[in-house]
Structure formats: structure tokens, C-alpha cells
Amino acid sequence: MDRRMMDIGSTTFQMFQIHGAFYHRQGPLVPGDRKDALYSQIYLYDPTYAAETRSRNAQEHDADIVASLTLMLQESNPLIRIYLTARERFVEISAAESNFHLILNPQLGLVVERGADLRRENLPTADEVSMTLPEEYSSAGFRDIVLACRMNGDDRDNPFTLINPNHASYPSLHYVLLFPYGEPGWHWGRTLHNREGDRQNQNLSQRTFYRFRLHPRVDEPSTIFRAERLFQQFLFDAWAVCDQNKLAWIRSHQANIR
């Protein structure tokens, strides 16, 4: 989508088209043999090499800008640190075992999942990110991000893992430059203030959260409002994700509706 948007002039609004469901795709942590690093793999190299790789992948970009952006992300984005930790752990664990998954759970904790018995073991991660999520939500495994170390023989057809848009890190992984500090997005555990004690429903809905984000504030940087076409895409994305959840609700509550 991003490449196509670059070809079109910037003066008008863009139209977006979606088929079916909405996900962010993520490649394995280490590129396959004789392949250049792509997507999040790039974060794992030192900034100079990462900037070079990026420029090779997209030659129309200004190399200096790419280099400074890469450096900025490496310094400030906690997700990159998590990914680095994940790669180290991969190297350690894979010396002893062969059949395991690394999982980034909604609290941004790294988890080792071994074989089929789903035994979980938390790994230490970067301290900067902390989110509190109720336990009931964290156990819902479909919101985990599964990290794969490298492409296996049987994964070659589908080298990407899917990131559910309801994962708190979805916005910061998908719109890296809009959320350079890895700010968490909406997740099920978010609640509203209840100072007066008169709120019946304390849960913060996804739609309300995005509406809150769409108001410029004096005391916070207006990063997303300066993003032009990327901002348009973000708006569209926000609606699509909310809509997708609404439709999922309708689908699972057919008995109440009819």
C-alpha cells in the first residue's frame, strides 16, 4: 500500500480498499540465506549497516535522512531492544533445543513456547516498556506475536507471521515513525478514569481510544498530524480495525440479534 501511495500525487485524499481481514505481517528475525534484511530484521543490525540496507531496498530515498531516522529509532524505540533480546535468546536456546517458539505477549513480555505442551517461561525484557494487562486477556493466545528465528523449510511458502491489530504494539510496529517511542495502542485492558465513581462501564472502547488520539493536544507532540499521507492511512486503519471488531461481535452474537 505504501509504495503505491508514493506514486500518486500528494494533493488529494487517497482511497483505500480492503478485502477481508486486516493484519500486520512480520517476517522472521533473521533473513534467509543470501537475502537482504527486510522489515523488522533491519532493526537488529547496527545503525550504519541498517541505513545502508534500507537505502538499497528503497533507492529513491535520501540516504542521510534514512540514516538519521534509523539512528533515532535504534536509540529510542523500546521494541527494537525487545527484538534484539529475542534474537540473543534464539541463539542461546537453539543450541540446546530445536522445537520451540518465541512469543511476544500483549504485555510485551518474551515467552518461550516449547513444542506442543505450551509450557511458558518468561524472559527478561527491556525495562522501559511496561503495560498492565489483566491476566484473563493475556492468556488469549491469538493476540500474541510469534517470533520466528529464520525461515524453515516448511515455512518457505508463508514466511510471515500475522500480528493481530488488537495487539497493543500493533500501531507502533505498523507505523514505526508515527510512534517512535513504541507507544502502546489500544488493548483490552485499558480502562477509563473513574474519579467520581459514577461510571458504570469503565472499559475504554477501541473507537473511543482512537477518537481520543485524533484530538491534537498542546502538551504532546503532534507527530501523527504531520504525517500527511501516512496519517490518512492511519485514519483508515483505525476505522478498519474498529469495524472489524464490531463485525466480529455481530458474528459471535447472532443468537441475540435474530
Partner: protein, 355 residues
């Protein structure tokens, strides 16, 4: 009811997208039935108003960050337009800008380029319908205003920038109103521009008026954008779209106000507006799943996304007055959930009257 509904293999597998879901098939059907009910109840339409967002509005320009255009801030465009629409509806309903208000059907459409349109059909009380040329001239004009006082000066600036039909000036045939016509030899485009000069407003056989557009003996230079450059074009009263002086002054945007001679305009609103969300492709499958059918190929622009996120109303009709009328007459029970709430309200009211 569709053909696949009677297939026994699909029994019990149906997934319904309820009419409360904005943009779904059932929602559109509901709107269609509601507006037909309203037309049946009120009879003839009075006015057909088209209101387009103006990206140059001071409210938008003032809030933009440095070096931004309105396209960089679709949230702002959507929010300002929503406020203006609420104000316009208030003007017509409560301030009675055109006379005593009876009812309306309106909808907001999203153009491919992302600008917002309001289509509004207004029903006015029978004694205020625009039946004589004198009545029409009092509210609607299709001429450039004179420059005799400061207000008219301001109005003139607005009309020159927003209310001139310029699409087919200096155009190589790509304009929508020139489709199927030869751009070099054509005299009038599909929308009827240029018109011929008209000394007095006339009401035609079909009920639609021909607005007054007198020959002033001179033309006005305006600039139109063609291929990225400004071209100066000469226009006169034959190219102005009918507008209302008070609304144009108040909203400083393209507001086309037309008198409706027949109920046929309702067909227009169904054909173009209640057509459902924009679809990119049509996927044919024997799917018994309305949600999946809806999901396949949604097509949405960022302004629409903002409107939907903020849950701005996209359609309006005052069904309430019709429903209370019919419930009162027939005491009919309604089946859909929304209707049940409304009719229980009406029933309580009836019970209150009886006591």
C-alpha cells in the same frame, strides 16, 4: 428474501448483518423504506439542496499546521463539515430559513477524492411551497449579484469562486458532464450549461423552474485550474448554478438550492445515495453470510473513516412524525428493535392522551 434463502442445505447457517450496522445492506434497505414512507406521508418535495465541503474554509485554514493543505488533515475537514451540516439543518428546521418545516430526508456522500457532500430533500408546509416565479426569486437566484453594497460584494466573491459551473470550460472532454459529447462542438453539457439567457423565472410543464438569468451585456473573468495552471475564462449569467443568498453568505461553500417540481427527486437520492458503500469489486459466491458479503471489497477514504470513527450521523430522516401518525391510525406493531422503542414511546403517549 433471496433465491439462496430457500436452499435447504443452508438452513440454520445464515449470518445476519443487522440494520443497526451503518452501511450494511439491511441498513440501506431500511433507509429506502423509511424515505418512501416519508414521501408517501408528506407528498411533494419543496427543495433539493446540495452542500459540498470547501477545503478553503477559514475554520480549516486556521487550524492547519504550517505548510499543510486540507488533504493532509482529513479529520479537520470531516469535523468542520459535520458542524456546518448541523448548523444548516438547524437553520432550515428551527430558524425556518425557507418557511415552516415539515420534514426531510438527507444523506452525506463521500466523493472519490474524499470531499464530503450533503444531499438534502426538504418538505415545507403546502402554503410555503415554491409555486410562483415571484416566490422562487425571493429565495433562489442564478445570477451574479450586483456590486451595490458591501454584503453583495462579499456574496459576489463567494458566488464567483463556488457557484459557477466551470467543468466544461476549456476542457478536453475529460469532464464528467461532457461524457459522450464532442468537447469542441458541444453547446450545452449534460448538466445543461451554458443555459440560454432568461428574462424571468418560468415554471415548466414538468414542475421544474427555469431560473432567471438576465443578459447583463458583459462577462466576468474568473480563473479555473486546468492541467495544474490557472486559466482565465469569461463567464456570464448563463453559467451560474442556482443558489440561496443567505445560505451562500453563511457557509461560503458550494450550496446548490433547487426547487423540486415532482417527487422524482427521491429517485435520485436512492439511485446515488442509498446505493450502499463504495465497492471496488463484486465477488459472486453463494455465501450465506451477510458479514462476509459486506467485508469483500469495502472501499473507503480517510474523511469517511473519520466520520465513522466519530460516529457522525450520515443519514437523516424524520420518520418519527410519520410513525406516530400511522401508529395512531392503525396501532400497528413494528417488528424491528429500533421501531419497537419508538412505537412504545408513541403507545405511552396515546395512553397518556386517553386518561
Amino acid at each position: 428474501m433471496e433465491a439462496r434463502d430457500v436452499d435447504p442445505a443452508c438452513t440454520g447457517k445464515r449470518v445476519v448483518l443487522p440494520s443497526s450496522y451503518i452501511g450494511g445492506d439491511r441498513f440501506m434497505q431500511q433507509l429506502y423504506q423509511d424515505s418512501i414512507t416519508i414521501v408517501r406521508h408528506f407528498g411533494k418535495l419543496s427543495l433539493f439542496i446540495t452542500f459540498t465541503a470547501n477545503p478553503k474554509w477559514a475554520e480549516i485554514a486556521h487550524e492547519l499546521l504550517p505548510d499543510q493543505t486540507a488533504a493532509d488533515s482529513p479529520d479537520l475537514v470531516a469535523r468542520v463539515f459535520n458542524l456546518k451540516v448541523c448548523d444548516l439543518l438547524d437553520q432550515i428546521r428551527h430558524k425556518e430559513a425557507f418557511g415552516p418545516w415539515l420534514g426531510w430526508v438527507w444523506t452525506i456522500a463521500y466523493q472519490q477524492c474524499g470531499l464530503l457532500h450533503l444531499y438534502l430533500l426538504v418538505f415545507l408546509r403546502t402554503d410555503h411551497q415554491f409555486l410562483t416565479p415571484y416566490n422562487i426569486d425571493g429565495f433562489i437566484s442564478a445570477e451574479i449579484p450586483p456590486t451595490d453594497n458591501p454584503i453583495n460584494e462579499e456574496l459576489r466573491g463567494i458566488i464567483e469562486t463556488t457557484m459557477v459551473h466551470t467543468h466544461c470550460i476549456a476542457n478536453n472532454g475529460s469532464a464528467q458532464c461532457l461524457q459522450g459529447l464532442d468537447p469542441f462542438s458541444v453547446q450545452t453539457c449534460q448538466k445543461g450549461y451554458m443555459r440560454s439567457f432568461q428574462d424571468e423565472t418560468m415554471i415548466n410543464q414538468d414542475g421544474y423552474p427555469t431560473y432567471r438569468g438576465r443578459d447583463p451585456g458583459q462577462s466576468y473573468a474568473i480563473s479555473v485550474r486546468r492541467g495544474g495552471a490557472d486559466v482565465t475564462a469569461l463567464v456570464d449569467n448563463r453559467r451560474f448554478v442556482p443558489y440561496s443568498t443567505s445560505l451562500s453568505l453563511r457557509y461560503k461553500a458550494h450550496i446548490n438550492v433547487e426547487v423540486c417540481g415532482s417527487v422524482k427527486a427521491v429517485k435520485y437520492i436512492h439511485k446515488y445515495i442509498y446505493k450502499g458503500g463504495d465497492r471496488a469489486t463484486v465477488v459472486l459466491e453463494s455465501e450465506h453470510d451477510e458479514i462476509k458479503r459486506y467485508l469483500n471489497g469495502r472501499y473507503i477514504g480517510p474523511t469517511e473513516a473519520v466520520c465513522r470513527l466519530f460516529e457522525y450521523s450520515t443519514h437523516g430522516r424524520n420518520l418519527q412524525s410519520c410513525i406516530s401518525h400511522y401508529t395512531f391510525l392503525t396501532n400497528r406493531q413494528f417488528t424491528s428493535q429500533k421501531m419497537r422503542i419508538q412505537s412504545s414511546y408513541v403507545n405511552e403517549w396515546i395512553a397518556h392522551l386517553r386518561h
